[in-house]
Structure formats: C-alpha cells, structure tokens
Subunit: 185 residues, 2 copies
C-alpha cells in the first residue's frame, strides 16, 4: 500500500525560544533570527541551518530548521520547512500574492533545491548570511550545482538578493557545528 | 501563532486507478505510469505532471502528481510529492541507502526545484518523458533556471539520466492540458 501523505513538523521549542510576535524590521534582525534558529537546532541535535519568512511589516509568517534526520526526509531543509509552514499558515501557494513585500532570511545560502524552490514560493527579497563557499569551507555539506549567474536569475524574476548579512555570526554557527563533529548528510 | 506543521496529500484515486502492486520492469513502463498519473490529474482538475519512484525490482515506492493548487503549496510538484511520499513510505531520507537501484520516472523534465531535490533524494536513475522545451512550447509553465550542464551535474554524482522516453505520449498529455485551457502557476 503506497503512502499518500507527507507530514513534516518543526520542533515545539520554536514557540518557546523564539519571539514569534516581534517585528523584525531590518535585514540584520531577520537574518539574526535565522541564525538563532540554526544555533538552537544544533543544540537540539539537528543540522546548522535556519530560515524564516517575513511579511512586509517584518512579522513572522513561517520558520524553518533543518529536519532531514528526524523526519527522514531529504526535502526537510530549513528554507523548505519555512516555505511549507508559511504557506500552510497563510493558505497561499505564492506567499506574496496580494501581499507584496515577503522576505526569506536564511542563515546560509540556499542549496540547489532550496534555490529552485525560491522561484515558486512567492518571495520578493532573499537575505543570506553565510555564503555557499562558507558552508563548504566550514562544514562538509554539499550545496549542489547552481546556474552560473544564480543571483541574476533571481533578480530577473523580481527577487532582490542581499548577501553576507550578519555573516560573521552565520559563519560562527557553522564552525560551532563542525567543532562538535556534527554529521553532514 | 506560527504553524509548525506541513501536511501534503495525494488524491485517493491513486489507489483506485493505478496498479500499485505491479512490477514496472523497463524504462518505458515506468515513464508511462508517470504519464498516466499526469493524465488522471488533469481529469481531476490538477496540473499535467506525474512522477513515480521505483525500487530495483520495478516496484512502486511512491507516486506523485502536481498538487500546488489543492494544497496551496508551491512545493507540491509531482516529483516532490513522489520523493516525500516514498521517503515517508520507506523511512529513508536517502531512498537508495542500503537499497541501490532506485529510479524516479517523471512525465516531464524536472523544474529547477525538483532538479535540485533530485541530488538529495537518493536516486540512481532519472527517467524523463517530455523535455523542458516541450513543457514551455506546449504549456506556459516556467521550468526555471538550471545549470548549463544540468545532465552532467547529475551524472557526476552517480545519477544516470535517460530522456525522451515515451516522449510522444508525454507531449500529448501536455497538449491535452493546454487545449482544455488549463491554468499555469
């Protein structure tokens, strides 16, 4: 009998350790929240990645941490979890439909899957902490192949990209994970 | 209150209209099943895309159809649904871990998101019906940007790619969808 359902969950500590009602007004506070999610996820035994979706007022629409191992699911990267739960929360397959100004903040540059998902999720701005090079230098995670002009492809479709936000903090979380001997997968 | 869960489902007709216990031995029968799923999904009011995951014996591990509109979720492409449900079914984040010989068959070339997901899902072979050019010629769906050598990037990581399998039938389903005035999203 085939399984006709996928159910993915985020840890309950998100409601306990994150201020889900605050207004994250600027780029740095948004990426700092993604980094904080990554840090908590490491403490929880998970991968060193966090992401969050915000509306035009800086209010949280969704959060994500890497859940590949606990959910036994290769799709459960931080950015995917943020898109999935933000879409479940809003009921919108394109998050910015009739609600312009949606932002994804991620602690590290999206891998090839999360990059591709970004074209369809309905965001206007992508904020990135650590670079793909940082990820590959500090951990052994593979980011996968991207188009040569990955940033230009997003911008052509109206998605603004800002990189290296709170990058030192983002790198520190990756380094902390590697020092603990965190597995890569 | 943020939503901490994503739940995605496939239609119940999959169990009624698809032989989920048959052995799909060769490339053509695998892609034909993906095309059949796409055809049924159109009849059900959905998008013209189907996909399926098979083990080394040609037994189904998971199926997928495009569920973006009913699930209000941009991630719910056919290939993603097939990966998600096959991983839920097997309990393996990498489908071919200790079980080599896993195949994804898709009615049409994966978009940039599903392409990226293919690197992490744990498949050994990717079978494709219609090409991305077919999709863009016959419908108005956007496949998104891929690396210049998208096929070589998969092969470098040990994923064999075979294209244009049952392509005429795969193109016919896309043309049928377009003739019905199907929306693109």
């Amino acid at each position: 009998m085939l399984t006709l359902e996928s159910r993915l969950t985020l840890p309950a500590w998100i409601h306990e350790r994150i201020d889900t009602r605050a207004r994250y007004a600027d780029d740095t506070s948004k990426v700092q929240l993604a980094i904080t999610l990554a840090q908590h996820n490491i403490e929880d035994g998970g991968g060193p990645f966090g992401a969050a979706v915000f509306d035009s007022e800086g209010q949280l629409l969704g959060a994500g941490v890497n859940r590949v191992v606990p959910e036994q699911c290769s799709v459960a990267h931080a950015e995917m979890m943020a898109y999935l739960t933000a879409q479940a929360h809003t009921g919108r397959a394109r998050l910015n439909q009739d609600h312009p100004g949606v932002t994804l903040a991620t602690s590290a540059q999206p891998c090839c899957m999360c990059y591709g998902a970004t074209f369809w999720a309905g965001i206007d701005t992508l904020l990135i902490g650590a670079s793909a090079a940082d990820v590959m230098q500090l951990t052994e995670f593979d980011e996968g192949p991207l188009p040569a002009d990955w940033r230009g492809e997003l911008e052509k479709r109206g998605i603004a990209v800002r990189e290296a936000i709170a990058r030192d903090d983002a790198r520190a979380v990756l380094a902390h994970y590697a020092q603990r001997g965190g597995i890569h997968y």
